[in-house]
């Protein structure tokens, strides 16, 4: 088998494992939900031939008050899907900026040791410049009060 094919094979092996593991991981909570749902079925609705039948052990007695949403003992005032303070969005924007920075840092960090032997101080200096620009942005955000929760 050629080198490229072997690499590809390895790739599919690893991510095939990830896919199977994920399928099992999804099956666990879904199975729990299904068991709970089966426990709520009526006896006369579902019998499994010779294997016995599900007994309805999980009650289901809905009423208006029980099915309404929780609100400290009185009826919910005003809408519940309502507007939010702008600070949530500003924090989300700052997060996007710095998380993208982290994404750029990962490949640099993983190959820093090897690259710096080849290209010397340049590898360090360019990341220093990149970080410096971001730190200036961070200080600006701080001065402007974007990091205050108020």
């Amino acid at each position: 088998m050629g080198g490229e094919a072997a690499v590809l094979d390895d790739y599919f092996r690893h991510y095939g494992l990830v896919a199977i593991f994920t399928a099992v991981a999804v099956a666990v909570p879904v199975g729990m939900l299904l068991v709970s749902w089966a426990a709520s079925l009526n006896v006369d609705k579902l019998t499994l031939g010779g294997f016995g039948s599900f007994v309805r052990v999980r009650p289901s007695k809905p009423d208006d008050v029980k099915m309404s949403i929780y609100e400290c003992g009185f009826e919910t005032l005003s809408g519940t899907w309502h507007r939010f303070n702008f600070r949530f969005y500003s924090f989300a924007l700052i997060f996007v900026v710095f998380d993208v920075e982290v994404v750029f840092l990962f490949p640099w960090a993983a190959s820093f040791g090897i690259l710096s032997t080849q290209f010397g101080i340049f590898v360090l200096a360019e990341m220093g410049l990149f970080i410096a620009i971001l730190v200036v942005g961070w200080l600006y955000a701080w001065r402007k009060g974007a990091l205050e929760w108020a």
Binding site: G16, I20, T22, I69, F91
Partner: protein, 395 residues
């Protein structure tokens, strides 16, 4: 048993042509084993946490059901399984049901890349750290889904606060791992373990502290349990949940410390490395258990922080600390590394010495800049009306 061993064992009994079937069966067996082991560990851990919190708070904790109350988790699961499952009429039913699944699956998926042994299970994925960060990032989505679909004010407040907090702490958590990646020269967790001549908790104490603080915020435990601050928000994003869905949320929440402990063990405590006669798996369990215990200790000791303090701590405290850490590590590696790009244990000891000094200096520096009062919102001093009354009476 590693994947390859089991694969070879099963491969002997079947013809060549259906190798993919052997592969699938092996993967299924091992996935089931790992996931069931983790769910069982989590069940045991709920018992342990409740017992320990009991001791911390000078009470006994659950001790009725089984020896020392060990069967309590099973009793809890059976109770929650047969509880009535209430979904509010106004709720978005599909998203409401999906949210617990979305929260639990990422917590389980992290264990794909954790190397439990020297060459164990699926730990060979070459993007381990990125995989962990990406997968754990999904829990923000689950919390928003739960809070939004409940259509409850408290749930929505909890979810929005939670999302703001979780995304804020994701940045320092990822940045604290950069220093480790620079030293290891790889994103694979197996390589990170094998590169630890000296454990990275000693080489990069600052990264470890930042990681633990950020991770305990990521799993929204005290002192960062803003998402479900009981005294303010009912129960936060799972106010409306009951029965088995609530149980799944709790399972995911109690699994989070185990996930964090496993990651911290691999990245900072040398994973399965230890002194020889005792097998690596035992070392792994011992280290992970001590991390879990420290997390529990922190939870039992510290009071909850306020929202503005939490956000300030992430962006003004942990963020600069993690940037300082990885940049110092990069400079040190640049100066100390051998011509072929590797680093010897002696150089690592020098780094250890420098980094401890850097840790103390930078923490003191940040603490001075922020100050006790500067993390907080300042209110102008207001004279009490009672004081005025007393003053006017004195006239």
């Amino acid at each position: 048993m590693s994947f390859d061993q089991l694969y070879d064992l099963l491969d002997r009994f079947v013809p060549e042509s259906i190798d993919w079937m052997v592969f699938t069966v092996t993967a299924l067996i091992l996935s089931l084993a790992v996931i069931n082991a983790m769910v069982l560990c989590t069940a045991l851990y709920t018992w342990f946490e409740r017992r320990m919190l009991g001791r911390f708070q000078s009470r006994i904790g659950p001790n009725r059901w089984g020896p020392f109350g060990l069967l309590q988790p099973i009793a809890d699961v059976i109770k929650l399984l047969v509880k009535e499952d209430v979904i509010p009429v106004v709720a978005d039913r599909a998203v409401f049901t999906l949210a617990p699944v979305v929260l639990l699956v990422p917590a389980l998926m992290v264990f794909i890349v954790i190397p439990f042994g020297e060459q164990s299970f699926l730990g060979k994925l070459n993007v381990g750290v990125l995989f962990i960060l990406g997968v754990t990032g999904v829990n923000t989505l689950a919390i928003i889904m739960g809070g939004w679909a409940s259509r409850n004010k408290y749930a929505l407040f909890g979810a929005m606060r939670g999302a703001a907090m979780l995304i804020s702490y994701e940045v320092p958590m990822a940045l604290s791992l950069i220093g480790v990646i620079i030293l290891a020269g790889s994103i694979s967790l197996v390589d990170i373990v094998s590169s630890q001549g000296i454990f990275y908790i000693l080489v990069q104490p600052l990264a470890f502290l930042v990681f633990m603080a950020a991770a305990s915020a990521e799993m929204s435990r005290a002192p960062f349990d803003m998402i479900e601050s009981e005294s303010e928000l009912g129960a936060g994003y799972h106010t409306e949940y009951s029965g088995i869905k609530y149980a799944i949320f709790q399972l995911a929440e109690f699994m989070a410390p185990l996930v964090t402990a496993a990651v911290a063990t691999v990245v900072f405590l040398g994973g399965t490395k230890g002194i020889d006669p005792i097998p690596g798996q035992v070392w792994f369990l011992l280290k992970a258990f001590s991390v879990v215990f420290v997390l529990l200790w922190v939870r039992a000791t510290w009071p909850r922080l306020r929202v503005d303090q939490i956000m300030g701590f992430a962006w003004k405290g942990l963020f600069p600390l993690s940037v300082i850490n990885f940049f110092v590590v990069a400079v040190e590696l640049f100066v100390l590394q051998e011509p072929d790009g590797t680093i010897t244990n002696q150089s690592m000891m020098i780094m250890t010495g420098i980094n401890w000094v850097v840790m103390v200096v930078s923490i003191v520096l940040i603490a001075t800049v922020l100050g006790q009062g500067k993390l907080q919102h300042k209110l102008p001093p207001q004279p009490s009306s009672l004081a005025n009354m007393a003053a006017s009476e004195g006239d």
